[in-house]
Structures are given as structure tokens and as C-alpha cells.
Symmetry: C2
Subunit: 220 residues, 2 copies
């Protein structure tokens, strides 16, 4: 599935997990704190963590919004790894509709689509305030993704769904059709084009999502 290629360039598109990582309003904040510290006379340094599974850069399993759908431990690792396309949504688009997706000219057969939006401009500026007006995918946009047989979609904020969307249809449309989701990517350094996605979620069991370390690899 993967092999070394010394010529490939690797980009880490993971947002650092720390106490100031923005979190979903109804989820607990990320906490990364000292358990043992040599400076306090302990034999070693040990850090402890607490977080929701959907904190920082993370993935959604279908079970996140669909109660009889697959959980993290039922998704083959190969679905998180492989060729992907990074496409750039113009900075002025706040709600991504099918017309915006059509304009990206996504090649037929694209299995993994990663959307760089104005959200990444916020990461580049170091803005860690939680914003309700982040760029997101409309329910019609989600149906477009399903219709195009895309199997994984990534975006650069905590949720792919608009904050105030009362029917919450974006997530169930994607997850109910077995489209995997990767959220809170920091794509500020990523030019559009083809990459190899290497997304490794933490090794959790039958749950709804997991924080992940995510790389994009590019051939020169």
C-alpha cells in the first residue's frame, strides 16, 4: 500500500493538539497537561491528555451520525490512505454548493477529495478562536459528492457541515452513503493538485471518530 520514495515531498496538514486548539462548543476543550515533571523532582516527564474524539485534526466514522453504520474499527486502513486531489475553493465562497464543486473540475474516478477553503487562511494567521461562520459544504454539495462516487472528503475546519444548519443534512448524507470525512486539516501550505493522503487515526475501537495525524505526499 505504501513504500518509501525519497523523492516525494511530505506536508504535515495536522493542527497541533493543545489547550488552545478550538473545540466544538458542546465538546470539552482539549487538555494537554503535566502528570509527572522532572522539574518537580519526578524521575521523568509524562504528559496526560483529555479530548473529544472529534478534536483537532480528526476523522468521522459513519457511526458518528448514522446509528447502524460502520464504526472506526470496521473501516479498512486502506480507505484512509491513497491518491487524493486537493482542490482550492475560492476565498469568497462560504457555503460550498454543487456549482462550486463543478467549477473545481474534479477528474472522474477521484476517490478522495480535499477542499482547501478560506478556513485555512485562518490557520495561517494563527487564529484559534472558534468561528461559527466557517466555510462548509451544503447538503446539496454533499449529495454531489455522493453522486460523483467520491469515497472520502476532507475540509479545513472542525466540521464539514454549516454551524447553523438546522436539518444537519450534510453529515448524514455523506456518512449514510459511506463517504468518510477528515476535518480540521491545516491546508494553508498546500497547493492544489494530486497527492497521496496518509491519514492515520488513533487506534480506537468501535467508536464514532478519532484524532488523526495526516500527511500529504507529493511527487516532484
Amino acid at each position: 500500500m505504501l513504500a518509501m520514495d525519497p523523492s516525494a515531498e511530505v506536508f504535515d496538514v495536522t493542527l497541533t493538539l493543545a489547550d488552545d486548539t478550538p473545540h466544538w462548543p458542546t465538546h470539552p476543550p482539549v487538555r494537554v497537561g503535566p502528570l509527572r515533571r522532572m522539574a518537580d523532582g519526578d524521575a521523568n516527564n509524562v504528559t496526560k491528555l483529555s479530548l473529544a474524539a472529534h478534536s483537532g485534526t480528526h476523522v468521522d466514522a459513519p457511526w458518528h451520525f448514522v446509528d447502524d453504520a460502520p464504526r472506526m474499527d470496521e473501516i479498512p486502513l486502506a480507505r484512509w490512505i491513497g491518491p487524493c486531489l486537493v482542490a482550492r475553493v475560492p476565498e469568497d465562497v462560504r457555503l460550498i454548493e454543487p456549482a462550486h464543486l463543478e467549477a473545481l473540475v474534479v477528474p472522474t474516478g477521484t476517490e478522495r477529495l480535499i477542499l482547501r477553503t478560506a478556513n485555512s487562511t485562518g490557520w495561517a494567521a494563527g487564529d484559534l478562536t472558534f468561528r461559527e461562520d466557517y466555510v462548509a459544504l451544503s447538503p446539496a454539495g454533499a449529495r454531489w459528492v455522493v453522486a460523483r462516487s467520491i469515497r472520502l472528503i476532507g475540509i479545513d475546519y472542525l466540521s464539514i457541515e454549516p454551524f447553523d444548519q438546522t436539518d444537519r443534512a450534510t453529515h448524514p448524507t455523506l456518512l449514510g452513503n459511506d463517504v468518510l470525512i477528515v476535518e480540521t486539516l491545516d491546508l494553508s501550505a498546500i497547493e492544489p493538485g494530486p497527492y497521496t493522503l496518509v491519514c492515520l487515526p488513533l487506534g480506537l475501537g468501535p467508536v464514532d471518530g478519532a484524532p488523526a495525524r495526516v500527511l500529504l505526499c507529493r511527487q516532484p
Copy 2:
């Protein structure tokens, strides 16, 4: 650094993180629990986690035991990824000494060495009890690793250092010489030989270690 190779075989050598994952006696247990559940009337399923950074399959940064040494965010990702050798330590060896390492016939130039020991037999049997008599590397063994210019060492239990070693010299010898450590690997399905290690620690900041998802990739 990495590229797709459809012919490569991939092995997940990560121990699942769950409430019954064995933990170091002075660290808190791993907790993976419900924050929101559709079965309870919530709009979605969300899991929360708490754990020490050295829980389950994880990595040690040099700062874990050496107070002026590099922390997680100072270690280039490329050090966690690349060619490695998996070597099998005979089942009856409990404390790995230089003579045992010599017997493994590690080729000169090996940068990453992963030791499969009798510990993995425990994982294969589903034994999640914390055992004080796990197989570990002696301080002399650690000095051998440093002298051979090995830059990363992996082992299949929570610590590479014997439980009752009063001087705790194994960790400082390795980490003080910038040898990275990967612990709690489940190598029960892994034959000895050359692999590509893909070890992606969670994206934490200036801390002592991190839980990781770890793959071994093999050319056919």
C-alpha cells in the same frame, strides 16, 4: 518520503486503545467513553478520551527522560518513517543483553530496529493484564544500540526498560543519545525482515511522547 505502492503489504501493529488497555501503574488508565449517543436521544455519537501520552502504542521523545533534550514537536516526522528491520528475539530471553542483539545479525547501517519478543505472544493470546516481568532491554543492550548508530528502536511492551531496574538507565541511555523509542507494538503477526515503518504520533506540541498509529509495510 512516502508514495503509493499497490503491491506493498501493510500490517497494523497498533494495540487498540480502550478501557482495558494495560497502563503503567503510576499513569491513569485509558478511558474511552460516551459524550453523546444517538441511542440516548442525542443528534450524533461523540466519544471522549483521556489517557497518558505513554498509553497503548506510543512513542517517547528524548525529553521523556532527559530534561534538556528534544520534545515531540522538535523531532522531524522523517525520523518516524522509513526503512526498518524487524528482528525476533528468542521466546526464552527476558532481559535483552548485547549478546542477544549480536545474535540477531543486524546489518550495518540499520537506522530503525524493531524487536519482536515473547511480549507479542501475550498480545496474540489477548492477555491485557499489566505484567511486571515483560521482556526488556538492559542498560548494556541500550549502549549496544547507541554504539551501532541505530536511531530508533521499537519493542512490544509498554516500556523498553525492565520494570524493576532501579537506576532506570535504559531510557536515559537511549534518549540521551537521541535514539527514538516506539513502545507497546503488537508484533504478533510480524515475521522478521525488512519493512518500511510508518509511525505517526498524534500531533502534540512540546511534550514527552504521544500515542501513535503504527504500520509496517512490506514489499512482496
